[in-house]
């Protein structure tokens, strides 16, 4: 094992990490509020205060339950998304500092994003309501389509860096960022992040046609946690893209920590902006795209990366 390129810091800093993720969530929610207000022609100020007003509203609202709900699993699913997002950011190095210097950090991220499958589905299942359950299965249908391409997209940077340590992957990009020569893997990775955050084109699981789907029966703090969790996943996904594809903390003038945050916020902004731009991808036909187009494309990308690594090595 070569010496690690990043330094693990005291777990107390996890609080700071959580706060940073929270700030990113607020930033994303404010941006979404502004874009929403602009689209509907409401005053900009209503968009600016929307996330906070929305959170206050949900905290004031009563929790509700349904007939014979599977309460434990329902609440576990709803609250779990935030936890998973927090787990994801533990392996993202902020410049040269990281909370968890795992040798298998890339797999760790992948494992976390698979947990989202269970959590979203459980939220749909627990309410004992047809609409929620349909939503839960829609998410699984999307999951079948996006998960394998996402896994193989994560393989490309790991192969190029010959390491599953996130810090090493970031350090391997000191000359040229991975996004420059593995654009397909980057695009598929971004699609995967949008998909596991049940966001934009991948939100039929929360569709208006099934009364809000997975969250059809959620109210009050449960809904706040679920929606906050989606934003947190989106932010964590954007943060993880920085060491994997966007050169980690490298950049001129500013310190590396600032670059990580800037890159994360920019990618997160793109994700948020994208939400309104595209129609939904129907879960029942997405497999076709996922396995017939994305999977071969990303495998080809992996092959190219592997050949380059062998040829250089």
């Amino acid at each position: 094992m070569p010496d690690s390129t990043v330094t693990a810091i005291s777990p107390v800093w996890a609080l700071a990490g959580a706060t940073a993720l929270g700030l990113l969530v607020v930033l994303a929610a404010v941006l979404d509020g502004l874009l929403g207000a602009r689209a509907t022609g409401a005053a900009g100020s209503t968009g600016l205060r929307r996330p906070l007003a929305e959170a206050t509203r949900l905290l004031r609202q009563r929790r509700r339950t349904t007939v014979a709900a599977d309460r434990l699993l329902w609440r576990v699913g709803g609250a779990g998304l935030v936890v998973v997002a927090l787990m994801m950011v533990t392996v993202v190095p902020l410049g040269e500092w990281t909370l968890l210097d795992l040798d298998v950090g890339v797999m760790w991220f992948n494992a976390m994003d698979v947990i989202v499958w269970a959590l979203v589905w459980l939220t749909g299942w627990g309410a004992n309501s047809a609409n929620s359950l349909v939503g839960g299965y829609r998410f699984l249908a999307h999951g079948l389509g996006y998960e394998l391409p996402l896994m193989f997209a994560l393989v490309a940077p790991a192969v190029a860096a010959s390491s599953l340590n996130v810090g090493d992957v970031a350090a391997a990009q000191n000359r040229v960022w991975f996004v420059a020569w593995m654009p397909v893997a980057f695009a598929v990775y971004c699609l995967g992040v949008v998909a596991f955050s049940v966001w934009g084109p991948f939100s039929p699981a929360l569709g208006g046609d099934i009364a809000g789907g997975v969250r059809a029966e959620l109210s009050g703090v449960d809904r706040l946690l679920f929606d906050g969790g989606r934003y947190a996943l989106l932010a964590a996904g954007a943060a993880f893209a920085v060491p994997m594809f966007l050169g980690g903390g490298s950049g001129p003038l500013l310190p590396s920590e600032v670059w990580v945050v800037l890159k994360t916020a920019s990618l997160l902004g793109v994700f948020v902006w994208l939400r309104r731009k595209l129609p939904a991808v129907r879960p029942d036909v997405f497999m076709e795209l996922g396995w017939m187009v994305l999977l071969p494309a990303v495998l080809l990308q992996d092959l190219v990366v592997a050949v380059v690594v062998v040829w250089r090595g």
Partner: protein
């Protein structure tokens, strides 16, 4: 108390409103309520659990009133229920809703008077194992009543489309559902999320009165057959379809076009905007890919079901046709009163949605460009 109050005030700034429309001549009222909701920075709710306010447009009949009571029970609270009799009272009704939501003591009384467990719960708490309702033991034939966890009987079995035994679930779509024709109820039998059987009716429809476009057209409409209103309704239908297809930006655009037409925008300018939206929709490859193969209708299908010619093709073709009709009406090339008469009757819906899953069934219903379904209830005498 001061903090509590200001927090409540802040919370109410982003209240969510579930809009229910009684069938009949309440389209204009519903549109006005939606506009006021958005102008206040409030939002439209997607389900009862998401709503703080239940706004009922028009006078509900007995059947719709029953459904509204069920919906009302599901609002988490603090909650407010207002009735909007006409477009003029939309603003005052929402102000009333705001006052209701801020009235802490009334809300507290309301919450005390509600049962702590949901309605159908028969006391026995902690029956957490009820969920085997969805498991596959259809052929075991147990008496239905003693296996009714939480008061809900277990699903019965039936042959699915592959000839396998599968549970059948009964689900009603409507009458209070976003992006759904006012007053329409579709009772579906589902296997998984596939509709295997369906039956459609309009709530509180008087069986003796003609209640769909064929004979009478929309009854006693306050906004007669003006071309602009015809076009506005088309834009509203297009907005619903776009929203169901998950394309928020295009849906918002269609909705704002609708609003401009209701406000009496210049026909030429509006037609140009419709054309622009139409081009955008036509350009989207993702939409084309997503909507293709969703219950395409051929000439023969149209003839068999007695459907008008503009419903030819898949939902994307029909969406473009909706926008074309809007533009045609604005140019004066579509005879709007004739077009209104050739509407779709609820009777054909079951044929069109059977065999589809919920998502595509919703897309198909929205793509039919329905005229408002008539009723015996009129706001005029309210």
């Amino acid at each position: 108390m001061g903090l509590r109050e200001s927090l409540a005030r802040y919370a109410v700034r982003s209240a969510h409103v579930l809009v229910a429309e009684a069938p009949g001549a309440n389209w204009h009222t519903r549109v006005t309520v939606e506009r006021h909701v958005l102008a206040r920075g409030w939002r439209l709710a997607s389900s009862p659990a998401d709503a703080d306010v239940l706004a009922v447009c028009g006078v509900p009949g007995t059947e719709l009133a029953g459904a509204l009571d069920l919906v009302w029970d599901q609002l988490p609270g603090p909650r407010s229920r207002v009735r909007v009799d006409g477009p003029d009272t939309a603003a005052t009704a929402l102000e009333q809703a705001e006052r209701d939501l801020l009235d802490e003591s009334a809300q507290r009384d309301d919450s005390r008077s509600r049962p702590t467990t949901p309605d159908m719960d028969h006391g026995g708490d902690g029956d957490g194992d009820m969920d085997h309702g969805d498991m596959d033991h259809g052929d075991m034939d147990h008496g239905d009543m003693d296996m009714a966890p939480g008061g809900i009987p277990l699903a019965g079995g039936g042959q699915d489309r592959d000839g396998l035994e599968m549970d059948v679930l009964h689900l009603r779509l409507g009458p209070v559902l976003p992006y759904w024709p006012a007053g329409l109820v579709l009772r579906c039998s589902l296997q998984g999320d596939v509709i295997v059987e369906a039956e459609a009716h309009v709530v509180d429809a008087d069986p003796h009165a003609p209640h769909h476009g064929h004979a009478a057209g929309p009854i006693g409409n306050d906004d007669h057959d003006s071309a602009a209103i015809f076009a506005a309704r088309r834009c509203d239908n297009a907005a619903n379809l776009l929203a169901l297809a998950g394309w928020e930006e295009a849906a918002t655009r269609a909705r704002s076009l609708r609003d401009r037409l209701v406000d009496g925008a210049d026909a030429g300018v509006a037609a140009a905007s419709v054309a622009e939206l139409s081009r955008r929709v036509a350009r989207s490859r993702l939409l084309r890919w997503s909507l293709r193969r969703v219950r395409p209708l051929s000439e023969a299908d149209l003839e068999a079901h007695g459907l008008p010619s503009h419903l030819l093709g898949d939902p994307r073709d029909r969406l473009l046709a909706i926008l074309d009709r809007a533009r045609g009406a604005l140019h004066g090339s579509v005879d709007t009163s004739a077009a209104r008469r050739e509407g779709v009757t609820p009777g054909v819906l079951p044929h069109l949605v059977t065999g589809l899953d919920l998502a595509t069934a919703r897309l198909v219903v929205a793509s039919l460009d329905l005229e408002p379904l008539g009723t015996s209830q009129e706001p005029a005498h309210a």
